[in-house]
């Protein structure tokens, strides 16, 4: 078998230059944003100045991580149709966000989704519980992103892993610390445009080898590797597994703190609605692109080459870029992948920092009485703290198999965050104890069950057989969280909270009193 020559792993000047241009431009934007990031409203929510269209791009940017771009393209390259099944799971959560969460969230909350959950309930217990759910989601997601960033930069450039992690950490701290939500939003927008544009270009250049007809591409793939790649393979063997993952992805999307936070950056519910519509379109388009990219890599590069460079197939998109566009295009796509990582971790850090400052410091420690400047100072300090923590975690988990942490983050979001959020919006009988019970049940079950699942118990801890059969706990932890919330709320009523529900309704449906 002839050896495949690739420049991957060697220094790619184009990539370095493009990446530094991106960092330079975004740091300039951060400087511009810094002058407009003095108040809490500006730091957390860009002073509600983001339009529906801009937020749609930013939401899509936040969601389209390097892991999903490289990972899904890789999965399609190695397994074909199965990669599409996986992508669809990520997409279908967005309609649910639109129908159930987006507008009520914008109307009821101020800066964080805990604002909504704690709206009529006793602040301290609910804020503490929501913050825990929120921080757990953010931290697990962050670990996966930081480790992914480090290994990606290492395998692409040969830079030492530690240097890569520290570099990513420092730039992202700069974005958030100085530019707050305004800077991170614009970084997301730029990155989303680059990612969608770059992927579109990659698809066009790939399809030019196949008479601009995807069907010809699929035909070639089937001829090369058998018809099986065009149909479902081994991904959905156990329906319970697939359902559990599907639930985690669908409902988890509506519980991701860094996504929910973006709804507070637009002026009103109508713009929030518009941004979800656009985001769904962008993300759907993106998954169609990654599908074609994966098949392109399968045919033009070959499965053996793709998997030899990385077992998960993560190099597929980059190898394809090199194959159709040479070293320069490879460099461009690689730079876009780094930009993607930077943008996503910045968004996560901001969301974590806002939980620490707005939810915990202001509402728990200071019992709701903190002055503007004090809160902004604490928010910035939290950013630094969380950024350093992200770097430390990235270094600690070097070389570990952390892919399961994304699934875990979604499972926690679906179990701890989403049920409480939904129940507080729609049910007048939802009580403080119910909220706490729901969040604690969802979070603990999600974590415990995933430890006992094949993903951790067998693959990582090397035991023989898993105690909990499903790879993702959401099928159990999500309903359990709903049940806990319902049962505990019914056992002891909270009349003060029930009375305030009228105000909730006025605000949810008419937007009166929204901030």
């Amino acid at each position: 078998m002839e050896t495949y020559s690739t420049t991957l792993g060697q220094v790619n000047t184009a990539s370095i230059i493009i990446f530094f241009v991106f960092v330079a431009i975004t740091l300039m934007i951060t400087y511009w944003a810094a002058k407009r990031t003095k108040t809490t409203s500006e730091f957390y929510a860009a002073d509600r100045s983001i339009s529906g269209f801009q937020n749609g791009l930013a939401l899509a940017g936040d969601y389209m991580s390097a892991a999903s771009f490289l990972g899904i393209a890789g999965m399609v390259a190695l397994k074909g149709y199965d990669g599409l099944i996986y992508s669809i799971g990520f997409l279908v959560g967005w309609p649910l966000v639109m129908f159930l969460v987006a507008e009520p969230l914008r109307n009821l909350g101020k800066f964080t989704f805990a604002d909504v959950v704690a709206f009529r309930l006793r602040q301290r217990p609910v804020r503490i519980a929501s913050s825990a759910g929120s921080l757990m989601t953010v931290v697990f997601y962050l670990i996966a992103q930081m480790v992914g960033a480090g290994s990606l930069i290492t395998s692409l450039f040969g830079l030492p892993y530690e240097v890569a992690v520290v570099l990513v950490g420092c730039v992202m701290i700069a974005y958030v610390l100085f530019g707050g939500m305004l800077a991170t939003t614009w970084v997301q927008i730029i990155k989303a445009v680059l990612l969608l544009g770059g992927a579109t270009l990659l698809v066009i250049m790939t399809l030019s080898h196949f008479s601009m007809n995807p069907l010809v591409l699929f035909e070639q793939a089937a001829i090369k590797y058998s018809d099986a790649v065009l149909s479902p393979g081994g991904f959905v063997t156990n329906p319970w597994d697939a359902l559990s993952l599907g639930i985690a992805l669908m409902l988890g999307t509506a519980g991701l703190p860094h996504i929910l936070m973006r709804f507070f950056t637009v002026p009103d519910a109508r713009q929030a609605r518009r941004s979800v519509f656009l985001a769904t379109g962008f993300i759907g388009y993106f998954y169609i692109l990654t599908f074609i990219i994966g098949f392109g890599a399968m045919v033009l590069v070959g499965r053996e080459v793709v998997s030899s460079l990385d077992k998960g197939g993560n190099m597929a998109a980059l190898l394809l870029a090199e194959s159709v566009g040479g070293q320069f295009f490879l460099g461009f796509i690689a730079a876009v992948a780094f930009a993607t990582i930077l943008a996503v971790v910045a968004g996560l850090t901001l969301s974590g920092a806002s939980t620490l400052s707005h939810d915990l410091y202001v509402n728990v420690v200071k019992r709701g009485k903190a002055d503007e400047r004090g809160e902004v100072r604490v928010a910035k300090a939290s950013t630094l703290l969380l950024g350093v923590l992200a770097i430390v975690l990235g270094l600690t988990f070097k070389g570990q198999n952390v892919a399961f942490m994304v699934g875990l983050a979604f499972a926690i979001a679906a179990s701890a965050n989403f049920p409480a959020l939904l129940m507080s919006i729609v049910w007048s009988g939802f009580t403080t104890r119910g909220a706490v019970a729901s969040i604690v049940t969802g979070a603990s079950l999600a974590v415990i069950l995933i430890i006992l699942s094949p993903t951790v118990w067998v693959d990582i801890l090397k035991n023989r057989e898993a105690i909990f059969a499903l790879k993702n706990p959401a099928l159990l932890s999500m309903p359990a969280a709903f049940l806990a919330g319902i049962i505990v709320s019914l056992r002891k009523k909270e009349p003060e909270a029930a009375m305030k529900f009228e105000e909730v309704k006025l605000r949810t449906y008419l937007g009166i009193g929204a901030e």
Binding site: Y81, L84, I85, S87, I88, G89, L91, V92, W94, P95, L96, M98, F99, L100, E103, L215, F218, E219, A222, I223, D227, L230, S231, P232, V236, T237, N238, P239, A242, L243, G246, M250, R270, R273, R274, V276, F277, T280, G281, G284, Y287, I288, F291, E502, E503, K505, L506, Y509, L510, G511, I512, G513
Partner: protein
């Protein structure tokens, strides 16, 4: 802007508000159920009717392919349908109610 408690109570109890809530709940729930049914149906058909999905509707084009891509487009169209309904019908009623509340 502050609205007195009695005013809040009056609006919440009014027929116009109740019908607004009812309509909104109906639209949200139905669309949510549709999305859930379609997606779960898709997953279950892969689990149990895999061979049907592999049936080709053209050379090298198993029906599962357009169905999968179609699902993505469908999800987006659902959000589009909701947005159009909300922008045209729902927002109009909200504006009317808001004017009533805030004028007095």
């Amino acid at each position: 802007m502050s609205v007195t408690a009695s005013k809040v109570h009056e609006i919440i109890g009014s027929d116009t508000f109740k019908s607004l809530v009812r309509r909104r709940t109906l639209v949200s729930s139905v669309l949510t159920v549709i999305m859930l049914v379609v997606y779960i149906g898709f997953i279950l058909s892969i689990a149990f009717y895999r061979d049907i999905l592999a049936l080709p509707i053209a050379p090298y084009l198993p029906i599962g392919l357009p169905i999968g891509i179609g699902l993505i487009v469908f999800a987006w169209l659902l959000t589009g349908y909701y947005t159009r309904w909300a922008n045209k019908s729902y927002d109009r009623h909200v504006r009317e109610l808001r004017n009533k509340v805030l004028q007095q």
